[in-house]
Symmetry: T
Subunit: 70 residues, 12 copies
């Protein structure tokens, strides 16, 4: 297991509902082209506001996925 | 658009339900006196505990709002 | 009140539903052996991914609890 | 208690004696116009030097005060 | 001099030309209502991009101004 | 708008003139292959020195660009 | 000496007088059950305010103590 | 797997040879009383110097171990 | 030299032996598809533990490689 | 005033009494050979413990002093 | 090349024009007594304000210069 | 012991073999002119790459040495 190599990419997902959904959306978009995703680490969270009301919860996350098998 | 100026204030909102609601509550309170809110950035999150059980989710956020139009 | 002393411990809770539930689970586990919990501060949040889909929301938190009464 | 909202402001107090007095001075100045102060968190501490000798201890603090009652 | 008290506010200025101008614009806007500004500390810098080209340099700054005289 | 997803990449641009030009050069290089760039956030700035004199201003920036439309 | 192992715990002490006393109080409480304390590193300092006046200086510290002898 | 709970403790190990050995020594000491160790995250590294020569490599690490099974 | 542009990617390499080997492994994997690598900056180091014993040293690194020649 | 240049050095002072005295002691030692000291910024504070009791308050500070006159 | 050793010093330069000039001024002052300067890394940027108008752009930088040849 | 004063300097050492050797080399170079070195704290680690292969491990360290005896 010790020879495995991971790559890490940074994405921002958003959702009108929650930061959990925003994180899932980032993973879903990355998942279209990437295999072997393992972890999404939260870097920052924010909420966009439109006309004084919440419009979108956004999560900036670091996604790690495996390049080499164990 | 390049001449716009924003001010940033820091608030703590709370909610018995979630950090998303806590953030909305901070914005709602600020919204009573402030116009042109744009973004609420999360600084820290915590949960108050009462008699060993969760009592409130709290979000410390930075709110940016526009002082000058584009 | 000024003579009170707190201890702080660091735990990771997880939940299939949300980071709020993950935080509650960390507190519940600590609560089995610890009294006088006051605050759970979020240190980091992440989401474990299994076969390209979210498997668990995890919250690393610092829990403070009182050692000496006021 | 969970619906309370706080605002946080940042100030620098100074004192010829100590950082504790510098922090108290920042609070005293804020207290002239602000109600319901709760906590002064230290952000940075420094000491001004004049002709090679200490002239003032300064504390940059974040003051939180309650906007809405519990 | 040791009894002086400062307040610190956070603003974002922007300019099509440079981060120096963006910082000056933040100060000019604050200057309309605030006296005794002393220092603008840079917190973050960024550049907005429009259709692949730079549209505005933005500087988030902390402005300190004196509340009490020496 | 809330369903949009962004990717973030990190680049270093340089210029003999200024950090603003260095940032523009990083964007211009990224722009050859990337669409929908939105923001270049400054991570670090430095200046290379050659024989005791400035040779290049360098800006390490994070570029965010949109993967999915609103 | 090179084989020694230390454990680090985090505590919050408080005092009506000073942050030095607050730190000593944290150590005194830890000292009831722990041997071989070496260093108390300050993590954060704050001051609790009661009815607009200082009520307690608090120091969050990391205490290191030796598990194995040299 | 999503219901598991971890505790995190902080230790300092040392070795005359390397930071890898220092980390192993911290784990070995913890391992005497703790089960289910998973990860040792490096917080800081330093080297003690004695009479101008290296005496010990030290690693401050955070050790996470499982409290509850999956 | 001042017009050169670099891209930075983040990877995790691992090794049963040392963090130096872990870093080399990350570079070797990146090197299969990337030219002009210059520097691997360490972001974090950790050690995976298996049944109470070290299983792999892992290094999270940022790799910079040149996009444009001088 | 705009052409002035400062140098910054880092020192650790200690005192049996307080962190204020520790900072003064660092300045006093630097003052033996350095002119034009302006500010001592606190980097970290700690307390050495001897046989379970406080032995010294230590302040790590950055001292800035002027190289060129205005 | 692998045996080279660098020393790093910290300085603050200022300029009425720009942070780039401020950085050059810091290097020019250091250059009077130091050889083999390589890089000036920006630590912080600020702008001094005089009577509500910008008086000086200041750059705090870390300068690295070579002690031993390759 | 409480009156001792330390100075801290920052250096970068390098080695073709390991970060431990790189740290030792920084100390050895400092040791030619400095007495009473106590600790080398690691600030950052990196690895220079030449033609796709590791050329040097580099350690940026802060060295503390005693100015005044106990």
């Amino acid at each position: 297991m010790s020879e495995s190599v991971y790559k890490i990419i940074e994405m921002v997902g958003s959702s009108p509902v929650s930061w959990e959904e925003a994180t899932k959306n980032a993973v879903a978009s990355a998942g279209m082209s990437l295999r072997d995703l393992r972890i999404a680490e939260v870097v920052t969270l924010d909420m966009k506001i439109d006309e004084g009301k919440p419009a979108a919860f956004r999560a900036r996350v670091k996604l790690s996925f495996k390049l080499l098998s164990d």
